[in-house]
């Protein structure tokens, strides 16, 4: 059960639970149903009532994608079986409620890794397909759905359909935010690895132009690439960054003593962030200080450093409930992408954010590869920037609206899995296949059984 739900045991007969996304903004109440079998899932869909239902995984979408005010929310984490692994061919068949963490535990000892990993292992396979997530290897491997060989989808009519890539239903489901139906199982192609360690190169970039030049010039040499960018740096240092790029370490890169057990999956977890933290812990001062230290502690350039998978991909997973550091008010993650050739728009947005002095730590810049087939898939060939901002920041709504305009004017888009606040008018410009998506939904689900707060807000 995700920690972002909060039920009140003192009210008798109360069957509603308050649900939020990872950003902990805009709570809404829904009946939370946790099916343990496919039949229970089908029954839940059949009985979800006038305000419909939406599947939910581990609640890592930041905004309102996996909540459904007044309706049903299907917590899919109860369907969590790994059914079959082809250890020679690198293919796994599992339930949609299986987390990527679980897949890593099971698959790494066999020499396989998930094809795409986002910044947290605590997402489900169903959520990964629904949001069509990307990782540090997007420029090489594309988004998660590109590695899905087939999936089983429970649709509004109660049917279970087998959906394969290249069909309209697949393209609507990949990135479709759970609105085409409930994914029950998926068959996924895996990435072979010799060890569970990463070989990582680190370098610093003095400013945004330097950063983009480095990413454009040498990203193709690395399977994984990402840059942490200091959005509080101003003037000549605007957009200074630390690049970390790497690949799975081959066996011979490990020290002799580690070669005996090269595929062990080790993680470490610190104590969880306390449930109640003071507001304003992340002020401009503390975040500036943090960013300064982070930048200074990074080596100017270092190559071939060995890092665990968890440290390289999921540093924040080390602190359970890290989202609580933003206090009760929660936070907004703003992530947008603009295409190649729109570097000026990216520069303008970065300059505006840095001039606005948003207390944002760990903003991430990444170069995307080719687009993915999903109609509402987020990645476009070009650049993506993601940053966290405390939701209570005065004037934030209007400021982000201005950024939306800038992004839309540049032919870019914001990421629905992160969004909690976009206005519906801009959506069609950002996602040109939106009409196809709506048309398919109208045909497949005429009564609108599948609906979420996100879908209601953006008329998806």
């Amino acid at each position: 059960m995700s920690a972002d739900t909060d039920s009140d045991p003192h009210v008798p007969g109360l069957e509603h639970t308050t649900v939020t996304g990872w950003g902990r903004t805009a709570p809404s109440a829904a009946r939370l149903i946790r099916p343990r079998t496919y039949e229970e899932a089908a029954a839940a869909v059949r009985d979800c009532g006038a305000r419909g239902g939406i599947p939910r995984g581990l609640g890592r979408a930041y905004g309102d994608a996996a909540q459904n005010a007044g309706g049903a929310v299907l917590d899919m984490t109860g369907l969590d079986r790994v059914h079959a692994i082809d250890a020679d061919g690198g293919i796994v068949l599992c339930d949609a409620g299986v987390s990527l963490h679980r897949l890593m535990e099971v698959l790494l000892p066999l020499g396989w890794f998930v094809p795409v990993s986002p910044g947290t292992r605590y997402v489900t396979v169903g959520g990964a397909i629904g949001a069509d997530i990307h990782g540090k290897n997007h420029h090489v491997s594309g988004s998660f759905s590109r590695h899905v060989l087939s999936l089983e989808l429970l649709t509004a009519d109660g049917e279970i359909r087998t959906v394969v890539p290249g069909t309209p239903l697949f393209d609507a489901t990949a990135g479709g935010m759970g609105l085409t139906g409930v994914i029950l199982t998926a068959t996924i192609r895996l990435q072979p690895v010799e060890t569970s360690m990463m070989s990582v190169d680190t370098e610093r970039a003095a400013d945004l132009d330097d950063l983009m030049a480095r990413l454009a010039a040498t990203d193709h040499r690395y399977r994984y690439s990402v840059a942490w960018i200091d959005l509080l740096a101003r003037g000549a240092a605007t957009g200074r960054a630390v690049l970390t790029r790497g690949d799975h370490a081959p066996l011979d890169a490990l020290p002799a003593r580690a070669r005996g057990n090269p595929l062990s999956f080790r993680t470490s977890r610190l104590p969880a962030a306390p449930a109640v933290l003071p507001e304003g812990l992340l002020s401009r001062t503390t975040v500036s200080l943090f960013n300064e230290l982070w930048y200074r502690k990074a080596p100017r350039t270092r190559s071939g450093r060995l890092q665990r998978i968890s440290a390289f991909f999921h540093p924040l997973d080390g602190v359970p409930h890290w989202n609580r550091v933003y206090g009760r008010g929660g936070f907004v993650q703003y992530q947008f992408a603009v295409g190649h050739g729109q570097e000026d728009a990216l520069r303008r947005v970065v300059r505006r954010i840095s001039e606005r002095r948003c207390p944002s730590f760990l903003a991430i810049l990444k170069r995307f590869g080719e687009s993915d087939p999903g109609w509402l898939s987020f990645p476009v060939p070009g650049w993506t920037l993601a940053l966290d901002i405390p939701a209570g920041l005065p004037g934030l709504g209007a400021f982000l609206d201005e950024l939306d305009e800038e992004v839309a004017a540049a032919g870019g888009r914001v990421y629905l899995a992160k969004d909690a606040r976009l206005r519906p008018e801009l959506l069609a410009a950002m996602y040109p296949r939106l009409d196809d998506f709506r048309a398919l939904r109208a045909e497949l689900d005429p009564r609108g059984v599948f609906v979420s707060d996100l879908a209601r807000r953006l008329h998806l």
Binding site: V11, S28, A29, A30, A398
Partner: protein
């Protein structure tokens, strides 16, 4: 906005439209003032509808408000209608006093319950209830109005507890003396405030999901002291 031509309601609407509110329903007795208010809000970029609503006709509330909720989810309902009355006349004419009580209390109970149920079934939203410091402790000068607000305040607090955990948030707002048409010509009390200040406090309270908001904030302390004053002393205060 129930009490759609009330100055506090309109100040709040203006404030929220500036903060990206897209659709506003003004519910009130049909009047040129109501239509003019709607026109002004439209000028700010919102989609504004008016609907005939009479606090004194509780039997109609279900139908009138149900129609609004049927058009789409409502994020916030503001119960802003109210009648100050004329204390001296109301003491002489019990029927006039009853009208104050029925508007401020009975009407709000009816509309509040109808809205609470609709909000509960949509699973989210805030119900903001305009109470008053006058309800905190009855004063000689306006106890008819004060007692109606006292009833409303108690009702709203209880409703807030009843709805806790349903995704619906109830916020009780207790302004002091607000300079509006309703209070025009009356002697101003200390810590007097404006509809705009009330709107600002409402917006902040919505963001924080506050349960009680005093406007201005200092009134919380003042009223806390006044509440504990012995009757004999309170009676003699020049308020």
């Amino acid at each position: 906005m129930l009490g759609g031509s009330s100055e506090i309601a309109l100040a709040t609407a203006r404030r929220l439209i500036a903060r990206r509110t897209r659709t506003v329903w003004l519910a009130g007795r049909p009047s040129p003032a109501l239509e003019e208010a709607a026109g002004q809000l439209r000028g700010l970029g919102a989609d504004v509808h008016t609907i005939a609503f009479d606090a004194l006709d509780p039997t109609s509330h279900e139908a009138v408000l149900g129609k609004v909720f049927a058009e789409g989810d409502i994020d916030m309902v503001l119960l802003a209608f109210g009648l100050l009355g004329d204390q001296a006349r109301d003491e002489r004419e019990p029927e006039a006093a009853v009208r104050v009580a029925q508007t401020n209390y009975t009407g709000a109970v009816s509309a509040g319950l109808v809205c609470a149920r609709a909000l509960q079934s949509q699973g989210h939203g805030s119900l903001v209830v305009m109470s008053s410091v006058a309800g905190e402790r009855a004063r000689r000068a306006n106890f008819i109005y004060g007692s109606s607000k006292a009833g409303l305040d108690a009702f709203a607090q209880g409703l807030g507890d009843a709805l806790h955990g349903t995704g619906v948030h109830v916020m009780v707002v207790r302004p002091g003396f607000v300079r509006t048409r309703m209070t025009a010509g009356l002697p101003e009390s200390p810590l007097a405030t404006t509809p705009e200040a009330v709107a600002t406090a409402v917006e902040l309270g919505l963001r924080r999901r506050s349960e009680t908001v005093w406007v201005p904030g200092a009134l919380r302390v003042v009223m806390s002291a006044l509440r504990h004053l012995p009757r004999a002393a309170f009676r003699r205060l020049p308020i």
